[in-house]
Amino acid sequence: MDNVSEKRNTYTWNDDIRRLAEKVGKDIRESERRGFSWEE
């Protein structure tokens, strides 16, 4: 991992990311409601 880690970023979580996750979550539920499955 070290030879590719010059771009090292750490995981972040804040209210903006939570709101964005919530929006993506609604999109995911809608796709699931239409029959899309993330499983192969």
Partner: protein, 175 residues
């Protein structure tokens, strides 16, 4: 719940963790706060990125979420010939050990984890965080820790943190 994974290490979040983070952000907050507390470095893998984005109507929001979680200019691992060569060896080991149902995407992810495993010339190894436990079988993966998250309907989600067993891989691939 405090995770016992190496501080300042690298963790790759599997597609199922990204999906459930999006569906249950208030419940998965505990996971992301732990990753933040431990200063865990973010990694995106192209197969996982594809799996996560392919079902979204608004791909741009999914991209923004990955960037938000993982940071601007985050590290992206792209599969190459070496990845597929390693994936083939891993598949052969799985077949010999009665793990014949593992999905292609998960073997590619396994090959990426293998490339950046401890003992493969890396001081800092890459761990995988996944809820898909059966596709990262004990023949080649060791569960380092797990986190239990209860979602609103009472279902308990188990996120395992997996390490690739390089030594075992080296033994088994020559058989």
């Amino acid at each position: 719940m405090k995770l016992k994974i190496p501080e300042r290490g690298f963790v790759l979040l599997d597609t199922n963790v990204l999906i459930d983070t999006s569906k249950y952000p208030d419940n998965f907050l505990v996971l992301h706060n732990e990753l933040k507390r431990l200063h865990i470095s973010s990694v995106v893998e192209s197969t996982i990125r594809f799996e996560f984005l392919r079902g979204l109507r608004n791909v741009s929001d999914g991209e923004k979420l990955l960037t938000g979680l993982c940071g601007e200019n985050h590290l992206v691992l792209n599969p190459d010939k070496d990845t597929f060569d390693r994936a083939l060896k891993i598949s052969q080991i799985y077949v010999r050990n009665d793990n014949k149902q593992v999905k292609i995407a998960d073997v590619i992810i396994a090959a990426q984890i293998a490339k950046y495993a401890k003992g493969a010339g890396n001081a800092n190894e890459l761990l995988l965080a996944t809820q898909n436990h059966k596709d990262f079988p004990p023949v080649l993966f060791e569960r380092v820790d797990e986190m239990l998250i209860t979602i609103p309907d009472g279902t308990i989600k188990i996120i395992g943190f997996y390490r690739f067993k390089s030594d075992r891989f080296n033994e088994l691939q020559v058989i």
